[in-house]
Amino acid sequence: MSGALDDVIVLDLTNSFSSSLSAAFLADFGGQVIRLDLLPQTHTKAQKTNSHKEGTWNHEADLIHRNKQSVALDPNTEQGCKLLAELVDKADVLVTDWQLADLQALALDYDTVCKSNPGIIFGRISGFGPEGPDKDLPAIDELAAARTGMMPILQQPDQPPVYTGAGKMHAMVMLCFGVVTALIHRQATGEGQQVDTSLFAANMYGASLDLQAFLAINEDDPQRDRLLNPISRLDVSNPISGSLYPSSDGRWVTLTMPDTDRWWPLLAPEVGIDVNDERFDSHEKRCETNRLALIEELEAGFQKQSGSHWRAVFAEKQMSADVIEQFDYPSDDPQVKANRYIMELDHPSHGKVKSLGFPIFMSESPARLERLAPCIGQHTEKVLHELLGYSEDAIYQFTTDGTIA
């Protein structure tokens, strides 16, 4: 068995969590990802991450830099600059979230890079896309999410807007998809190109259904208001689809049963409503005429039993409904473990730990964990020797004069 991307050399020039994770994602599936750690770095050999406190497990680095190699070099020296250019020439893919001006300063922008390496796939996560007046705004997910139009409507009425953090994660998979799609094109033609996805675009796609509805609905249609203001959970348009009800132990249940004709006969007796109750005996009555009365009944009905009770009922009747859980649920769910969505691993310094696994199963080229985050510069010598062909002596010289570490 081999990795799907095991002939692909990727240069990782990223700063943010999600962009770094996109390079790790390519590495998970076999890509030879070389993280460029530019010198001078401050004192430590460990990868810097936002959440890390000294002495504890750097769980963030071991996720977003797993399976990577690290090369540390100083691009401000002439020799370091030359090594950097040589690495770029060997790369099939470059992944970055840098601003254009920063890339240009080190001659790492696409226009420069493609002159000596026309086959390169240059993947970038931008803030707002490659064109337009805001193309140089920084790649900050909160800014992009704020522009997307969904933040004011996710929460209950009179609550502050909500930032979900999902956009940047959506963007990182989009970038990986774009890069691999470009690799497929290159297999056929030898042609490289630029791939851009933006945090703005990714936030928009996460909001795709509401956004597309809004595009399609005429300006004078009252449905528009429902897409501009938060809807109370006690005012949803279908009481048994997209709704939330509290159970007796404070855990919430959620239902997605849009076809109420099909589900009502199964659900009604469980929540203590007579199936033949004339107020609710048609889809029309349940979702239009007596909608609010039904929501009230369900609110009372679900509070009579615990979350576990409802989970058992939903399972028994094969209903598309479930209990809203916290992270402790998936982290102990045998289903999650069986599919390697979360893995247990033996950490050399921290013993048995759990870490996020792999969201895609592939029978012939499965993702694998080959190594945890590299120390800064851990693979400099190896990469300079094996990929760029430098002798031990030359590498020693680079180390002595501070070009590499």
Partner: protein, 401 residues
């Protein structure tokens, strides 16, 4: 213009949202995607409008946008003759994609074992609810799976109900994850000549979506599973604030320099107060600082505030609504929105465009979703090379309409 996935043929045996979105990505970049549908009604997603489950315009945007650039063939797979047609498609295709349950696919004689026997180069992709392993096979919808991941429970102010990440959010994420898996399998097959089977589930994709917070939880940070108030965030300069109308998001590091810029924009000398001097004190007295900032921002309109922020280079954005975003020039300039002709209403309509920009082989939106079975006869003749009398026979037996 050349297309990146030119020459890739995909059998799209999917319904509703996640599966169709996955195939939509492939179709946008030039793959020939053929939707295989039951002649009686086809993809249930076609019926969303009549169910009134979602807000809808005068055209069926739910179905037509995620099935754009696709063909449709109507086949009754319950008939042996229908199966024969599908098997011939498998011989001539690169990818088989389905979001039916593996159990149902087995029952229909559409398992990986069966189809890869017909075409060993086939990439067989599923979108399950909860993964291929572990045995759970209950019904899965976007929101009910999102509920299990813990992503909803951590959102909102403490004490408020959990928050859904948006209609179709989980499906959209599962869809791109699936497209990514298929693209990798195509790349791999182009090297080795061998197909494989793959799965991107709603559960797996949405757990990955929660990565920044879930990974912290796994490492022992229990707070990351819980709702956190915006009134208590550690860095008050990276937070959302109300104005007299729209809210605004300020995204600044907690440094003296950036704090001074924010204070200057707000026209108030908070920076001179001892309790807010220095990064650490601002983090320590975060609740008080957030309250103080909020008192100032609420007095201004968002336009006024944004102008002041811009003058002081404070990184910030107004929190827009959907009416703002559909007019956002940046979205149109990058083809995140596009126009396409809609047969149903005989006019151009506005659609979600292309979130991934490939400079030399850009995606395209040529047609919106197909009518049920509109390409059946043509595909039977041109692709599957049946003679006309054979086609008549299939029709007589009810394998095709």
């Amino acid at each position: 213009m050349t297309k990146a996935l030119e020459g890739i043929r995909v059998i799209d045996f999917t319904v509703w949202f996640q599966g169709p979105v996955s195939a939509q990505y492939l179709a946008d970049f030039g793959a020939e995607v053929i939707k295989v549908e039951n002649p009686k009604g086809g993809d249930q997603g076609r019926g969303v409008r009549s169910m009134k489950a979602l807000p809808m315009g005068d055209w069926n945007q739910y179905f037509l946008v995620i099935n754009r650039n696709k063909k449709s063939i109507a086949i009754d797979l319950k008939k042996p003759e229908g199966q024969e047609i599908l098997y011939r498609m498998v011989e001539k295709s690169d990818v088989f994609l389905s979001n039916m349950s593996p159990h149902l696919l087995n029952k229909m004689n559409l398992s990986y074992e069966k189809l890869s026997e017909i075409n060993p180069k086939l990439i067989y992709a599923t979108n399950t609810g909860y993964g291929r392993f572990g045995g759970v096979s209950k019904p899965s919808f976007d929101m009910t799976v999102q509920a299990l991941t813990g992503a909803m429970a951590r959102l909102g102010e403490p004490g408020q109900p959990p928050i859904y990440l948006g209609m179709g959010s989980g499906d959209a994420y599962g869809g791109i994850m699936s497209a990514m898996g298929i693209a990798m399998a195509i790349y791999q097959r182009n090297k080795t000549g061998k197909g494989q089977s793959l799965d991107a589930s709603l559960y797996g994709a949405q757990l990955y979506l929660a990565a920044p917070y879930l990974q912290s939880f796994l490492a022992g940070d229990e707070k990351s599973a819980l709702q956190q108030s915006r009134k208590e965030v550690e860095n008050p300069l990276w937070n959302l604030y109300p104005t007299s109308d729209k809210w605004v998001y300020i995204c600044e590091e907690n440094t003296d320099e950036r704090f001074a810029a924010v204070c200057k924009a707000l026209g108030h000398d908070l920076a001179s107060e001892d309790r807010f001097s220095g990064t650490e004190k601002r983090a320590e007295n975060n609740v008080a600082l957030i309250a103080a900032l909020e008192a100032l921002t609420s007095q201004k309109s968002d336009a006024e505030l944004m102008a002041a922020f811009e003058a002081n280079s404070v990184v910030s954005s107004p929190i827009n609504n959907l009416a703002d975003v559909i007019k956002d020039e940046q979205a149109w300039r990058n083809n995140y929105f596009m126009k396409a002709y809609c047969e149903e209403v005989k006019r151009e309509v506005e659609v979600r465009g292309l979130p991934v920009t490939l400079s030399k082989t850009p995606g395209e939106v040529n047609t919106l979703g197909p009518q049920l079975g509109q390409d059946t006869e043509l595909l039977m003749m041109d692709l599957l090379e049946y003679e006309w009398d054979q086609i008549e026979e299939f029709k007589a037996k009810g394998a095709i309409p």
